[in-house]
């Protein structure tokens, strides 16, 4: 009813959507910024999944990556710094028919929005979350990020940052009711696409940390990452991320990891090596959006009856 319950409507696409149907304007990120690659991957996913643009919503916070919704020809919500999770949860809670993505950065998610992040993991609402982690504040011109490695030189720490970083994978894996945690990198498009696709297909809160290069402010880190492929380990498993063969061949190391093993997933997240792939998935975690959608579509008559029944209790 009211276009809300997709289960009872046979949804035959009126047209075939092409990449063009999801593209809007020219992305204004710096040349060489990793965000461009994520945008292409997401547009490709929308095309491959034939998501109706009007049924697709990208919710973001504030920061370079949070400009993302402006470059998608779908619905978008470019809201407040650190607050994408509650907004996206509110969108999805009573609109199960919408495909909702969250676009957030390391400052947006792991610093100013950290409180909302923890609870969003626990709510396990069906959202596809892309954390663009470039380890630096870009939009405000190079300040230390919560994920900056210790010693990172920035405008707020000219002599090097003094605290160990937040580890977003470790943190997410530590929250109860976590259901999907993966990591990928912007410069390996095949793996990036396969990971986002797996996240989208997962029914629940799919947390995907994307290592993103900021060539403007973190050029050295970007070079180090892309030129030392041997430091990247691909997690492989029949239930894990399955990139195409060409992409798989790019990795010199593979580590077998069963994504149902949360203990091992936590160990891997804390390791000094960088692992790409699916750390953890639990398809049976409780979903708060199922509770949110359990009583949709009441008629005015039903609502009136409920108010009147309650008023009876207050009648004298």
């Amino acid at each position: 009813m009211f276009g809300l319950n997709t289960e009872c409507v046979l949804d035959i696409p009126q047209k075939y959507f092409t990449l063009n149907d999801y593209e809007k304007g020219n992305a204004r990120w710096c040349p060489g910024c990793g965000d461009h690659a994520v945008l292409s991957s997401v547009q490709k996913l929308c095309r491959d999944k034939q998501l109706p643009p009007e049924k697709t919503v990208f919710v973001s916070g504030i920061g370079c990556s949070s400009r993302f919704p402006h470059y998608m020809d779908t619905y978008g919500f470019h809201g407040l710094h650190g607050r994408a999770f509650p907004v996206a949860s509110g969108v999805k809670f009573r609109r199960p028919d919408l495909n909702v993505f969250v676009i957030t950065g390391d400052g947006d998610c792991c610093s100013i929005g950290a409180g909302a992040w923890l609870h969003a993991i626990r709510y396990n609402i069906n959202l596809t979350v892309l954390l663009f982690d470039n380890q630096i504040y870009g939009m405000t011109k190079k300040q230390t990020s919560p994920t900056s490695r210790m010693g990172t030189v920035s405008n707020t720490h000219p002599h090097g940052s003094v605290l160990p970083p937040v580890n977003p994978l470790q943190t997410t894996l530590g929250v109860s009711n976590v259901s999907f945690v993966a990591q990928t990198a912007d410069w390996i498009p095949g793996h990036l696409y396969a990971t986002i696709k797996a996240g989208f297909e997962h029914q629940g809160f799919s947390f995907i940390k994307i290592m993103v290069r900021c060539t403007k402010f973190m050029g050295d880190l970007a070079n180090e990452m892309t030129s030392h492929r041997e430091r990247l380990f691909m997690l492989s498993h029949e239930n894990g991320i399955q990139p195409d063969e060409a992409t798989t061949r790019l990795f010199s190391h593979q580590v077998a990891h069963d994504p149902s093993d949360i203990g091992k997933a936590r160990e891997l997240s804390e390791s000094d090596d960088i692992h790409l792939g699916l750390f953890y998935q639990n398809k049976n975690a409780l979903r708060y959006d199922e509770y949110g959608a359990h009583n949709l579509g009441f008629t005015v008559e039903q609502k009136m009856a409920a108010v009147n029944a309650e008023l009876d209790r207050y009648a004298v």
Binding site: E54, V91, F93
Partner: protein
């Protein structure tokens, strides 16, 4: 049309057997858990059915389990009765029932009693096993006498023991019977109300309580030398009795709002307790968010997706929601925000009343943030204004802030049962195709109004943003465009203002003094004005429901009076205070607004003592102003 604040029992002499009154204020004070509130609410309901105007307010201890027989343990209820409509808790109590001699001191601290207050106290403490209790009782009785209270020592528990084995359960119903006799309530009506109160209990419980009710009634008939009559035409209309927070909750559901996104905060939260009990039967949900910011963010997400939501909070929560309120204004998201105001600043007085959030809701957000603000002045309005707020929010594509306060939130009043109307409820979400040539902010230049695309509408795809944006919803840094979009958002208020009528003047249309109020002080102001007018004062009052935009015609009204003064529960400097001059004086909040918008030299009468405004204090102020 009023209830006098000075009651007839003014002297220390004992009253004659039967007296007719226009109104009376009763308090029952006990240790927490002795059922005083249940007795009081039942007494209020019986009185409402007999046609009396009723206002009850519960006396709630600050701690969860305070020790018995301490001031901290004082729990109970105040019931104000009148021949006509009663709109506030009044001045000092005329009659008190006290379950022990310690708890009344909590009320004495609040100046709740006066010389001549009839004081009905449980007498069993005089014969208590403990010497210290016996002494405490004797000392207190002496003290009460010295304060001028008229003492009646009543063997409540002893009488109850004649009927039940455990007088702890049921003493309250015996007291109810006592009160029903004193105020000449129909015993049959009282019995049926007691049955209603205990309708979920076993027949044995009902029977035992009825026995006690009758016993209390009979005991008063035989032993007390006074009775009162507060005549009113019997109420034929069906009534509902609730507090302001419950009325807000009914308003939410009757407005068709399907999502209340909240974080616990006193004194707002009891609204959501009630909502949580039954909103799911009406196709809605209460979402308890992880914090105040997330609560409004979640509500805005829902509203953006087509389901106008409500978030309910109080001062500190409102402060946290500031940034999101700014976003809702900027991006024109319909949203209902309810603020049940408490004492501030900071954590302030969480359980006490204040009206200090007015300027914060209007101007608390950085940047220009025009929005609709309205304030309920009665419990019935708490119900109606939520329905109104949702309609305004959607029609004008704006957040609407509805102000209530701790006085309305906890005050209980009967009002005619509303007839629920189908057109109060929100309609289905529009999912029809959107004309692509129309932008998401295609402002009508005359009114600033625009339609919004809702996710699911093909052709309407746009990105909502808190950045300055054009009619097409595109981010813009053009100076002219920001000027224009700001004008359009502001224009909506002017357009909405055109739909409002000038407020009705209570009293004569011109005179020496005009009092201006907003929110929960209405009853007290109008009552004081009525009394002053009886004394010959040329005083009137105006009560504002809309604070943004303001109701029209205010300057015209103000100019017909020699002096205009606001009456508010927020802070203002006193001109007699050191260093304070007419130039540096900080005025009460509505006074600031009215001075700025009308250029009339408006004075203010305000305090932040955490108590509802008493009509007696306003009357004193009027008398001083007009030399009555």
């Amino acid at each position: 049309m009023k209830n006098t604040t000075e009651q007839l029992v003014g002297s220390v002499q004992r009253p004659a057997k039967r007296k007719t009154l226009r109104g009376h204020i009763v308090e029952i004070v006990s240790d927490s858990g002795e059922g005083a509130q249940k007795a009081g609410q039942t007494f209020g309901a019986i009185s409402a059915k007999m046609g009396n105007g009723v206002w009850t307010v519960e006396i709630i201890p600050a701690d969860i389990q305070p020790p018995a027989r301490t001031k901290e343990s004082a729990s109970g209820i105040r019931i104000r009765l009148g021949s006509n409509i009663v709109t506030n808790a009044g001045n000092e109590a005329d009659l008190v029932v006290a379950f022990n001699e310690v708890v009344p001191y909590a009320r004495i601290e609040q100046k709740a009693f006066r010389e001549g207050t009839l004081f009905l106290i449980e007498s069993k403490w005089a014969e208590d096993k403990s010497e210290s209790i016996r002494n405490s009782y004797a000392k207190a009785i002496d003290d009460f006498r010295q304060r001028g209270y008229v003492i009646y020592e009543i063997p409540m528990e002893k009488e109850c023991l004649k009927w039940v084995a455990n007088p702890k359960q049921g003493k309250n119903m015996w007291v109810l019977g006592l009160l029903c006799n004193i105020y000449q309530r129909e015993l049959e009506l009282a019995s049926s109300q007691v049955k209603h109160t205990f309708r979920k209990k076993s027949q044995a419980v009902v029977d035992s309580n009825l026995k006690l009710l009758n016993a209390g009634y009979e005991w008063a008939e035989e032993n007390l030398d006074f009775q009162f009559e507060i005549p009113s035409p019997k109420m034929e209309q069906e009534l509902v009795v609730m507090n302001g927070n419950e009325a807000l909750s009914f308003g939410v559901v009757a407005a068709g709002i399907e999502l209340c996104s909240m974080y616990p905060i006193t004194p707002a939260t009891s609204t959501t307790h009630h909502l949580a009990e039954y909103i799911e039967n009406a196709g809605g949900i209460v979402h308890q968010a992880e914090d105040e910011i997330a609560a409004i963010g979640f509500a805005i997400g829902s509203a953006y997706a087509g389901k106008t939501a409500v978030t309910i909070t109080s001062g500190p929560g409102l402060a946290l929601k500031t940034e999101f309120i700014g976003l809702a204004v900027m991006a024109e998201v319909p949203l209902v925000i309810i603020d049940v105001q408490r004492g501030g600043p900071s954590t302030g007085l969480p359980t006490k009343v204040e009206q200090s959030d007015l300027l914060a809701v209007l101007y608390g957000q950085p940047g220009d943030t025009p929005k609709v603000v309205l304030a309920a002045s009665t419990i019935e309005e708490c119900f109606q204004f939520v329905i109104l707020a949702r309609k305004i929010a959607e029609a004008f594509r704006t957040p609407v802030i509805l102000l209530s306060d701790a006085n309305l939130g906890t005050g209980v009043q009967p009002f005619p049962r509303p007839t629920i109307q189908p057109d109060w409820f929100s309609g289905p979400i529009d999912q029809s195709p959107w004309k692509e040539s129309v932008g998401p902010y295609a402002w009508d230049k005359q009114t600033g109004l625009s339609r919004r695309p809702i996710p699911g509408q093909p052709g309407g795809e746009y990105t909502l943003t808190g950045l300055a944006h054009s009619e097409a919803g595109k981010v813009t840094y053009e100076p002219e465009l920001n000027q224009h979009s700001s004008a359009m958002r502001s224009r909506k208020l002017a357009a909405f203002g055109r739909t409002l009528k000038p407020p009705v003047v209570h009293g004569d249309q011109e005179g020496d003094l005009l009092l201006v109020g907003w929110g929960s002080t209405r009853g007290a102001i109008e009552e004081a004005v009525d009394e002053a007018r009886e004394l010959g004062g040329k005083v009137s009052s105006v009560h504002l429901r809309f604070l943004s935009p303001m109701e029209p015609g205010l300057k015209d009204i103000f100019q017909r009076f020699k002096k205009v003064k606001t009456v508010e529960l927020n802070y203002s400097d006193d001109l007699n205070d050191p260093l304070i001059t007419p130039e540096n004086r900080r005025y009460a909040q509505l006074a600031w607004l009215l001075r700025a918008s009308t250029l009339v030299d408006i004075d203010c009468f305000s305090n932040v003592q955490g108590q509802p405004m008493r009509p007696g204090r306003i009357l004193q102020m009027i008398s001083k102003e007009l030399n009555l």
